[in-house]
C-alpha cells in the first residue's frame, strides 16, 4: 500500500498547489497533480491549449514557487542548435590562439583540446538549463513552431537530460531541471516527443475559478465589477469569434474598466465600447459584436443557430 510515501506524495502536491497560489497562479486540482507528478517522475510536461489560457504563466509561477531559476527557450521557425543549445565562442578561441602565438617562449604550446573546452562554449538555453547547479525550470515555449529536426534533437535532452557536444563529449545534468513544453497546435508534434512527456490540456477556466484569478491579480477592483465582467467574458466565449479571449484578455479588460473608475459593469455596455479592444482582437470580431449584440450578451440572450440547435436537441435527448 501507499504507506508513508503516499502520504508524502499528497502532502507535497498540496504544498505545491499552495505555493503556486502564492506565486499568483491558481491551478485546479488536476493541473496541480500533473505538475507535481512531472517533478516526482522527473518527466517533461507538455501543455496544450488555446492562446491566453495561462500555459506560459504556469512555468513562470512554478519557477517562482520553487524558487528555481527559469530558463526560457522561445521556439520559432528556423531555430537551430546554435541558438537553442550551444555555440563555440569563436572570438575567444581566436584570441587564445593569437595570444599563444605571440606568447612568451617558455609557455606551453596551445593544443586543440584547450581551445575546445567548456570555457569556450557559449551556453544557450538548453545547455544553461542542464548545467544549472540548483533547481531549475526549463520552459520550451511554443515547441510546435520549431521544425521537426529540432524536435528530434530535443528527444535526447528530454529523455536523458544530457547533451552531446562532439568536441567535448556528453554533458549530463547535475540537477535535473523541470521541463515544461507548451504548444498551440499549429503543427502536429511527433509521437516520439509526445510519449516522452506527461500531457495536460489546459482549457478556459470555470466561472468561479476565473473570478478568483482576476481577484487575486487585481485585489483592489470591486467584487461586483469583477464578477460581472468575468461573466460577460465567459458568455462572449460562447459566441462565434475568430479569436476567443483568454484569461490574459479578461485581466486586461477588468484592469481597463477599473482604471476608468467603474465599480460595476456599465448599465449600457455601449458606453464601454472603447475598452472592448482589450477583448476583441480582430476586425471581424469587432464587426460581429455590435452594440445590440453586446447588449444581448450582457443579458444572457443568445440567438441560437439552426446547426447548433440541432446539436443541442440531440444532446438533450440523449
Amino acid at each position: 500500500m501507499g504507506g508513508p510515501t503516499a502520504g508524502n506524495g499528497l502532502r507535497e502536491e498540496r504544498l505545491l498547489s499552495e505555493r503556486l497560489q502564492r506565486a499568483g497562479y491558481l491551478a485546479d486540482e488536476d493541473l496541480a497533480t500533473t505538475v507535481w507528478l512531472a517533478s516526482a517522475l522527473q518527466r517533461p510536461l507538455l501543455i496544450e491549449g488555446d492562446a491566453g489560457v495561462g500555459k506560459t504563466a504556469l512555468a513562470i509561477a512554478l519557477a517562482q514557487a520553487q524558487s528555481a531559476v527559469l530558463v526560457r527557450l522561445q521556439c520559432f521557425e528556423g531555430l537551430d542548435l546554435a541558438q537553442a543549445a550551444y555555440e563555440w565562442n569563436y572570438a575567444k578561441q581566436l584570441m587564445a590562439i593569437r595570444l599563444s602565438e605571440s606568447g612568451a617562449p617558455g609557455q606551453r604550446p596551445l593544443r586543440e583540446s584547450d581551445v575546445f573546452s567548456r570555457d569556450y562554449l557559449l551556453e544557450r538555453p538548453l545547455l544553461r538549463a542542464i548545467s544549472q547547479e540548483g533547481p531549475c525550470v526549463l520552459l520550451i515555449d511554443e515547441v510546435d513552431r520549431a521544425d521537426e529536426a529540432f524536435e528530434a534533437f530535443l528527444l535526447e535532452v528530454l529523455a536523458e537530460y544530457q547533451m552531446t557536444v562532439p568536441e567535448v563529449g556528453t554533458l549530463r545534468a547535475k540537477h535535473i531541471p523541470q521541463v515544461i513544453l507548451t504548444s498551440n497546435g499549429t503543427r502536429e508534434l511527433s509521437d516520439a516527443l509526445r510519449r516522452r512527456c506527461l500531457y495536460h490540456y489546459l482549457d478556459y477556466p470555470s466561472l468561479a475559478r476565473e473570478i478568483a484569478i482576476v481577484k487575486s491579480a487585481l485585489p483592489q477592483a470591486d467584487t461586483v465589477l469583477v464578477e460581472e465582467a468575468v461573466q460577460f467574458v465567459q458568455r462572449l466565449r460562447n459566441e462565434d469569434l475568430a479569436k476567443i479571449p483568454g484569461i490574459a484578455e479578461t485581466l486586461d479588460w477588468v484592469r481597463a474598466l477599473f482604471q476608468l473608475g467603474h465599480s460595476s459593469l456599465p448599465e449600457d455596455i455601449a458606453q464601454a465600447m472603447g475598452t472592448l479592444s482589450c477583448l476583441l482582437k480582430t476586425r471581424e470580431d469587432r464587426f460581429l459584436m455590435g452594440a445590440d449584440r453586446l447588449r444581448q450578451v450582457v443579458e444572457g440572450r443568445r440567438s441560437i443557430g439552426v446547426a447548433e440547435k440541432d446539436g443541442q436537441a440531440a444532446q438533450a435527448s440523449v
Binding site: L37, D80, D191
Partner: protein
C-alpha cells in the same frame, strides 16, 4: 488508514490490480491510445506515490500519463468511467470484449450511399445521366440536362429545402484527410513564380558574400561560417469561384469541401456566386457548426438563377483587382449555365485573361458542358476538368500545375 472501499478501487496494488490495470491499458489501446509497458509502469508508480484513498488524484495522474493529444484527452473521462465505474453509467453498461461502438449513423449513411451508387452504376451502363427524381428537380433544372448526373444518390429526399440537405457533412474523417492530402499534393505542384530577389537559406547553392563577411566580424575576420542563399519564389495566387446556384445545389457541398481544403493548404481566396458574388475565405478557415451555418446562409439565401458573367466581372473589377496578375490561377466550379447574355461571359473572361491570370473550369459533368456561353468562351479557358467526386480531383492531379 481505512480499508480500500471496494474491490473495484483502481489502486489496490499487487497481482489483481496489476492485471486490472493491464486490462484497462488494453481498453485504452483499443481506443487508439499509446499505452505500453512503460506507461503502465508509470501509472503503477503514480498510484503508489498518490496513495489509494484519493481516487481523483490518481485519475488525474493517470490521465496525464496515458493521454498524448487533445483527442485522447477528451476521450479519457468516458473510458475511465466506463471501466472503473460501470455502475455510475445509466443503464449499467458493461464493458465486454467488444468495446468499439457499432457503426455510427454517419458510417451507415455513407455505406447506404455507396450501395446506391453501385446499384445506380449497374443499372445504367453509360453512367452519364439520370432522370431527375423529384418534381422540384424537374422545375429547377429545366434549362440543364446534366444537373442530375451527380454520382451521389438523392435518397428520395426533396431538394427544395437547401438547409436540410446535409450531404457536405456526411464525410468520413478519412475522406476529409484524403482530400486535405490531395489538396496539399496539388498545391505543391502548382508552379511557383520566380522573382529576381534572393533569400538566405542554409542549404543554398550561392554564396552570400555580404552575410559571410558580416558573420566573420565575430571571428576576428576569419571566414569561419559561410552563408548561402537561394532564389526567392512566390507561390501562385489561387482564386476559387464556386457556383452555388439552384442548378448546382447537389454539388455545392463537394465544391465547398474542395474549396475549404485549398483555402487551408494553398491559402486560396474562395468566393461563392449565384446571382451575386460573395467572399467566404474567412469562413473557410474554421470548421464549426456555426460557420457551416453561415456558409449555408450565404449559399442558400437566393436560390434562383446564375449570373456567372456578372459575378466574374465583379470578381475581377472589385474583389481581386489588385491581386490578379501573371501567374494567378482562377478556378471556376460551375456547370456554365448562365442567365446573362452568352457574349458577356466571354467578355468577363477576357478581362481576367488580360491581366495574365489563367482560368481553369471545373464542371460536374463528364463532358464539357454544352452551355452556349461556355462554348463561345472556350478559347479563353485554359483547361476543363470534370469534378464530381474526390476520384475526379485525384485524376486531375497530373494536369493541374
Amino acid at each position: 488508514m481505512t480499508q480500500v472501499p471496494s474491490a473495484q478501487e483502481p489502486v489496490t496494488l499487487g497481482v489483481p490490480a496489476g492485471e486490472r490495470l493491464a486490462r484497462f491499458a488494453e481498453l485504452l489501446r483499443e481506443h487508439g491510445m499509446t499505452v505500453g509497458v512503460a506507461e503502465q509502469q508509470a501509472m503503477l508508480h503514480a498510484a503508489t506515490l498518490c496513495g489509494a484513498l484519493r481516487e481523483p488524484v490518481v485519475a488525474a495522474a493517470w490521465r496525464a500519463i496515458a493521454c498524448h493529444s487533445h483527442r485522447e484527452w477528451k476521450l479519457w473521462d468516458d473510458i475511465y468511467q466506463r471501466f472503473w465505474h460501470p455502475e455510475k453509467l445509466r443503464g449499467g453498461v458493461k464493458v465486454s470484449g467488444q468495446t468499439r461502438p457499432s457503426r455510427s449513423l454517419r458510417q451507415s449513411v455513407q455505406q447506404m450511399h455507396e450501395q446506391m451508387e453501385k446499384d445506380a452504376a449497374a443499372s445504367r451502363p453509360g453512367g452519364d445521366s439520370t432522370a431527375p427524381q423529384t418534381a422540384s428537380d424537374l422545375a429547377s433544372s429545366a434549362d440543364s440536362d446534366d444537373s442530375g448526373s451527380s454520382p451521389r444518390a438523392q435518397g428520395g429526399a426533396s431538394r427544395s429545402e437547401a438547409l436540410q440537405q446535409r450531404d457536405g457533412q456526411m464525410w468520413l474523417p478519412q475522406e476529409l484527410s484524403a482530400l486535405r492530402q490531395l489538396a496539399r499534393q496539388i498545391t505543391a505542384k502548382l508552379q511557383p513564380k520566380a522573382t529576381r530577389r534572393w533569400r538566405c537559406a542554409p542549404n543554398g547553392r550561392r554564396l552570400d558574400v555580404r552575410q559571410t563577411l558580416r558573420g566573420s566580424v565575430a571571428c576576428g575576420g576569419e571566414l569561419a561560417q559561410p552563408s548561402w542563399r537561394v532564389k526567392r519564389t512566390e507561390p501562385p495566387r489561387l482564386f476559387i469561384l464556386a457556383d452555388v446556384s439552384r442548378s448546382m445545389e447537389s454539388h455545392a457541398a463537394l465544391f465547398l469541401r474542395v474549396a475549404r481544403a485549398f483555402a487551408l493548404e494553398a491559402d486560396a481566396r474562395v468566393f461563392v456566386f449565384h446571382t451575386r458574388l460573395a467572399e467566404v475565405t474567412s469562413l473557410m478557415h474554421r470548421d464549426t457548426a456555426a460557420v457551416q451555418e453561415k456558409v449555408n446562409a450565404v449559399t442558400a439565401g437566393f436560390g434562383g438563377g446564375t449570373r456567372i458573367a456578372a459575378s466574374l466581372q465583379d470578381f475581377s473589377r472589385n474583389h481581386a483587382r489588385a491581386q490578379i496578375n501573371r501567374g494567378a490561377r482562377v478556378w471556376v466550379f460551375s456547370d456554365g449555365f448562365d442567365t446573362d447574355e452568352p457574349a458577356l461571359l466571354g467578355q468577363a473572361l477576357k478581362e481576367v485573361r488580360a491581366r495574365g491570370a489563367r482560368v481553369t473550369w471545373f464542371h460536374p459533368t463528364r463532358q464539357v458542358p454544352e452551355a452556349a456561353a461556355l462554348q463561345r468562351a472556350r478559347g479563353l479557358i485554359e483547361r476543363f476538368v470534370p469534378l464530381a467526386s474526390l476520384a475526379d480531383l485525384a485524376n486531375a492531379r497530373a494536369s493541374l500545375h
